[in-house]
């Protein structure tokens, strides 16, 4: 088999589209552990909330696979990779030969050791099966405790609340959304959730999960001494790269599977992409695991092209999140919490708590390296341009950018023409 891809998520879709951009002929085989066509993983919160039905989960129409000459081996786990023999073995007993392999196994939920967490009614919220379980559970329960106030935890909490469940979210740090957003944005999102009726408690976590003699879940003891009665616990602390398969095969791993600037691992003919990979970061230049949807697609796309033998360097991951809390949209891109005491960074902040509107721009020397928008998000893409293309912000344009009005006329003239009106020779 010319191309074999382990994993059936968004990195895998990116890889198929990357391969097909160059090679429309040779067959691609996808081996996926979950028994479902590739679905939009973030959509599980929409499904749990009842906003969409299962018919809207698929990322690509069924005919996509036929048209792209892709065969699927779903509900199948890869049990081993042999980089020398260039084969993978599966739990169904198959051995598949490959010329080019992509490891796109994504992440697995991180579960800290909490006494009492082994047993019934403790769940994660990272895949379709988890969502389906919680949908049927939600009908018979009253109270849920969500451990973790990051993006996954808040979305799990919001969706369970929409199913009529009383929800308390616990976050160990002093505030929610500590990774992706800054304090002001987190506070606006938190008050929106509180307004609707969710309980969000920060600076506190679960000490022990209480069970009765039969092992039934009773509630959660908190680190501050409180006890919360509940029927289910959802652990949503975060995900870690699912790299064991690669590690056992002798492929180099660090925080994730190490890849070079062409998404190649240390083993010949084997590539990695998505939440499992540790790849070049656009802004910092070093290699990082950035488990972000867009990066997974882009890395998969780049890996796919390189698997065909084309030489395409990876431009680098850029952290970006767009998520709404009961109609309050929030966006964060790039560096949003710059290191304190570093004079090279400069910030401009505009907060209107009444209007629930917030804008934070982070500059590094004369470049925009990150931003946060809450409420009024319409100009997001224009800010992304400055971060992504690493354009310097001209002094006369800075005022306009700070006023929330970035535009394409601020771009360097050559870049503007090349982007919008290429191939035209201007009259002198």
């Amino acid at each position: 088999m010319k191309y074999v891809i382990i994993g059936n998520g968004i990195a895998s879709i990116g890889a198929i589209e990357g391969i097909r951009k160059v090679d429309t002929e040779n067959e691609i085989l996808i081996i996926g552990a979950e028994d479902a066509p590739a679905y939009g993983r973030p959509l599980i919160s929409y499904l749990l909330a009842g906003k969409i039905g299962p018919d809207r989960l698929a990322l690509r129409p069924q005919e996509f696979y036929e048209k792209s000459n892709v065969s699927l081996m779903l509900g199948t786990k890869v049990t081993g990779i042999d980089p020398k023999a260039k084969t993978v073995t599966t739990d169904k007993g198959d051995t598949v030969e490959f010329e080019n392999l992509l490891v796109a196994t994504g992440g697995i939920p991180f579960t800290p050791p909490i006494p009492g967490s082994d047993g019934a009614d403790v769940y994660n919220f990272t895949n379709l099966a988890h969502a389906q379980t919680l949908i049927s559970k939600a009908k018979e329960i009253k109270r849920a405790v969500v451990i973790g106030g990051g993006l996954i935890g808040l979305k799990a909490g919001e969706s369970l609340f929409d199913r009529g469940v009383d929800v308390t979210i616990l976050e160990l740090s002093p505030r929610i959304l500590s990774l992706a957003f800054d304090e002001n944005a987190a506070s606006l999102a938190g008050s929106r959730l509180a307004e609707v009726g969710l309980n969000v408690r920060c600076g506190v976590s679960a000490k022990e999960i209480q069970r009765d003699a039969e092992g039934n879940l009773k509630g959660v003891h908190l680190t501050d001494g409180d006890f919360l009665q509940c029927d289910v616990v959802v652990i949503a602390i975060g995900v870690v790269p699912n790299y064991n398969l690669a590690k056992e095969a002798g492929i180099e791993v660090d925080r994730g599977i190490k890849v070079d600037d062409h998404m190649r691992t240390s083993a010949e003919g084997i590539f990695a992409a998505g939440d499992v990979a540790q790849a070049k970061d656009l802004l910092f230049g070093d290699d990082r695991v950035i488990p972000i949807w867009t990066n997974a697609y882009n890395q998969g796309f780049c890996a796919g092209k390189n698997m065909t033998g084309t030489d395409v360097p990876f431009t680098g991951s850029l952290s970006m999140n767009s998520i709404s809390f009961y109609g309050l949209p929030t966006i964060s891109v790039g560096t949003v919490n710059p290191p304190e005491n570093d004079d090279a960074y400069d910030m401009a902040v505009a907060l209107d708590e009444k209007k629930k509107s917030y804008r934070k721009l982070v500059f590094h020397n004369d470049r925009l390296v990150g931003y946060v928008l809450v409420g009024d998000i319409d100009m997001a893409g224009m800010y992304t341009a400055f971060v992504k293309f690493q354009m310097t912000v001209p002094e006369d344009a800075k005022k306009q950018i700070l006023a929330g009005e970035p535009d394409v006329l601020m771009w360097p003239d050559d870049f503007f023409k090349e982007t919008w009106n290429p191939g035209v020779v201007e009259p002198d």
Binding site: L43, P61, T384, D407, T419, W420
Partner: protein, 148 residues
Amino acid sequence: MKRVYPDKEYCIGCHLCEVACITAHSKSKDPIIAFREERGKDGLTACKKVFEKGDICVAISCRHCDEPSCVAACISGGLHKDPETGRTVYDRDKCVGCWSCLMACPYGAIKRHPTENKIVKCDLCEGREGGPACVAACPNGALKFEER
């Protein structure tokens, strides 16, 4: 493929491209009804954005990029690249209104629908005889629809 190319040397910021755009995407196909009624009632929105700086203007919309950032960012399968036509196609029924595309598109070519959790994006006036309405309406040849 043919794309719409804006030329800031010729644009006079008249916004007629926007009027033509909403008319082409309206139910009535009448500029007055589209502008006066459907804009308010149905949230009819132009796919174009006109930027002005002194006497320099430009009208931009989706570039239908070869490798679009919006498709990479889409969590719902609502945006995809049509391998046959080269267009970046928006499937309104699949869209969940997460605004990931709006964030990811560095060309600022995606707008929020004013009343629904959907986006507004150029479809090159698919099916319209004579091609994109904005190009046809431009009085100074500042928009060109051609292969480059």
